[in-house]
Amino acid sequence: MKKSSRFTRRGILKSGLAVGAGLAAPRIISRRAFAMDAKKVVFVSEESSPAAQAIYDAINKDFLAKTGITVTMEYPGFDKIDQRVATLIAAGTPAELVWYGDGSAMEVALHKQLAPVDDLVKELNIPENLRLVVDGHDRSIATSQQFVYGWYRSDLYEKAGEAPYKDWDSYLAVAKKLNNPPNQYGNLVPSSQKGASHLLMQTMMQKNDAHWFTFDTAKNDYVVSLDSPGNIDKVIETLDFLHHAHDFSPEAANYSWGDLMSQYFTGRVANSYYVGARLLQQVEKNAPDIAPATKPISLPANKSDSYYISVQGFHVGEGSNVDGAKEYVKFFMNHPDYIKWLHSVPLHIIPAKRETLHSKAYQDNPEIQKRMDVLNFIDSIWGKGKPSYYWDGDKLNPYVGLYENENLGGWMLAERNIAGRDSKSIIQEAAAKIRKKQADYIASNKG
């Protein structure tokens, strides 16, 4: 039977041809292979709740009537939107508009794939602390924001005769008191390399004046300071605090945001947290009996009182139908349904401007009226938070993706709470990882 030798020779020949074809392919299909259509706008949105979709459809219809431009919506889903944006850009068909978090958008901006939108930011009066300035230009038009704060069960507190916590010590004390596994847990400390854990670590670090980077004026750049003397003690303190809190939590070794909420629905959790009020909205749907007792509270502060802000906004793809996109953004922000859009997930999608929060139009919504306590709470902590790329200094920190993309804060929590390592070695390893990635990043950008 003719076997291996012929096979290998022919095989190599054939693969050679294939490789040649493959090498030629990228040049054949050039970047702007698809003609940019001035009458089309592709809008990729992270928010896909049915209510939001209905509003997009209505606004798009009006936009078509006014300008003749068709808007095509895409809803890839919260955890797939980065992949979708990357695919579209890689294929040479960048989307005109992407609505999602500025943290993810910053990555894209640093790769020079977002068009400058300074004119729109000025015209629409976007608040200063919500701007995203990369390479000297605004790259995002902020529409809304969310903060990381806590949620607690006031009925469980009352039953135990406890008052809500004020600082780190009282937090641990009350979590311990209300902890009675498996019927009730004092709090939830997800400890996995996922977003929910990472944001918890990030926020608590912001509550303890602990930093990831510091701006080095000599080098005129940000350097990793996670393990530098003076800062490392604060990080250790934070990690140990969360380790202690984990004693009063289910193991939660692979919790995502969804699991965090599902666990809360069981009614067996006294304290939780979320990046916004979507938790409350989901509680109303899945466990309506505990919704009235679910109340917002600021996570406990120690050396500083900040919190993590997640900014969302419109981002315009470089090389797409930029003019059409910008026109749409103006139309959207001035359309009367903009308020309705904010209402699609009430109290969770918080307007970018404080005046909008106070406006009658915004407050005129039954769900908001039912829970004015949440609105007043949001008002009371307004302005105290910072997005991660402005936490370490006034200048934009372009390196936050290096630790955020892989949820390094969550990794630290997992190593501490699941693998049981000591805080110092974890932090040193994390710092080394970020340094290596930073060197890699700088080197590959020079080329």
Partner: protein, 273 residues
């Protein structure tokens, strides 16, 4: 007599224990689909319940495009099955009966395509399909699914044609039948279990595919089931009730199809078993 009976009884019991492992997740899926949303997160759960609620199923039809997703999935799967069966049968037959120059290379290359991790195929496929206008179409997705299932099916059909002795065909030829006719009337019935297997695999691969459907279908109205189900996750809040209800509705026709097909797996040698 008693020994035989004990053996059969033992066989039945062992089988039932195994079936519990297979059936329990399905059973729980169905139970959860019929649980009203407010009770979904209140453990402990009763294993046997007589109460049920159709709330989730109603919501599935009224609030989502479930039917659209289902229809799309069916169309794409059907196309993939038809193309797979025809192409794989022909190729498998040729591989088992003929010896041609590039035979080894062809066999090896089908294997190479099967071996390539699909995750990295999505971007090149997206670029190529966009260039030839197959993006967001049924044809494009069917072809993409064929690309992953065809290599596998060629192998399976090749295996099954090996079992059919050439003597049977030779008998047909001496009676004056053409090669194609002999194939149709003699080989196919014997290789029928193989063809059924091929159809099932092609169907399953197409029905379950998420990566290609996600990348290639950009319009919500063109989404297949897996991609559509992913949209039930509303920014990390999972609509458990909808997921379970949709899995219930997806499983029932699939189950029916499978019951119908598995009968044909029994036809083996054509010796009247």
């Amino acid at each position: 007599m008693t020994y035989d009976f004990a053996k059969r009884w033992m066989r039945m019991v062992t089988l039932l224990v195994g079936m519990t492992f297979v059936a329990f997740p399905l059973y729980w899926m169905f139970m959860t689909a019929l649980t009203p949303r407010s009770e979904l997160f209140k453990p402990p759960y009763q294993l046997l319940r007589t109460s049920y609620s159709l709330q989730n199923i109603e919501e599935l039809f009224s609030a989502t495009q479930f039917l659209t997703f289902m229809t799309n999935s069916l169309i794409v799967a059907f196309g993939a099955v038809v193309i797979n069966v025809i192409a794989a049968t022909l190729a498998g037959y040729a591989l088992s009966r003929f010896n041609f120059r590039f035979k080894n290379l062809f066999v090896a290359s089908t294997l190479w395509t099967y071996m390539f991790p699909p995750i990295l195929l999505v971007i090149p496929l997206y670029i190529i399909f966009s260039a030839i206008g197959f993006r967001n179409t049924y044809t494009g997705l069917i072809l993409a699914h064929v690309s992953i299932s065809l290599p596998l099916n060629i192998w399976i059909m090749w295996q099954y044609f090996q079992i059919v002795p050439v003597s049977l065909e030779e008998a047909a030829w001496t009676s004056g039948a053409s090669r194609l006719r002999a194939l149709w009337e003699v080989c196919l019935p014997s290789a029928l279990p193989g063809i059924i297997s091929t159809a099932i695999f092609a169907f399953a691969l197409s029905w379950n595919d998420f990566s290609f459907a996600f990348i290639l279908q950009t319009d919500t109205s063109m989404y297949t089931l897996p991609v559509g189900l992913a949209t039930f996750v509303e920014q990390s809040a999972i609509h458990w009730g909808l997921i379970m209800a949709s899995s219930l509705l997806v499983s029932i026709p699939t189950f029916g199809l499978v019951i119908f097909l598995q009968r044909y797996l029994m036809q083996g040698f054509g010796l009247g078993r």
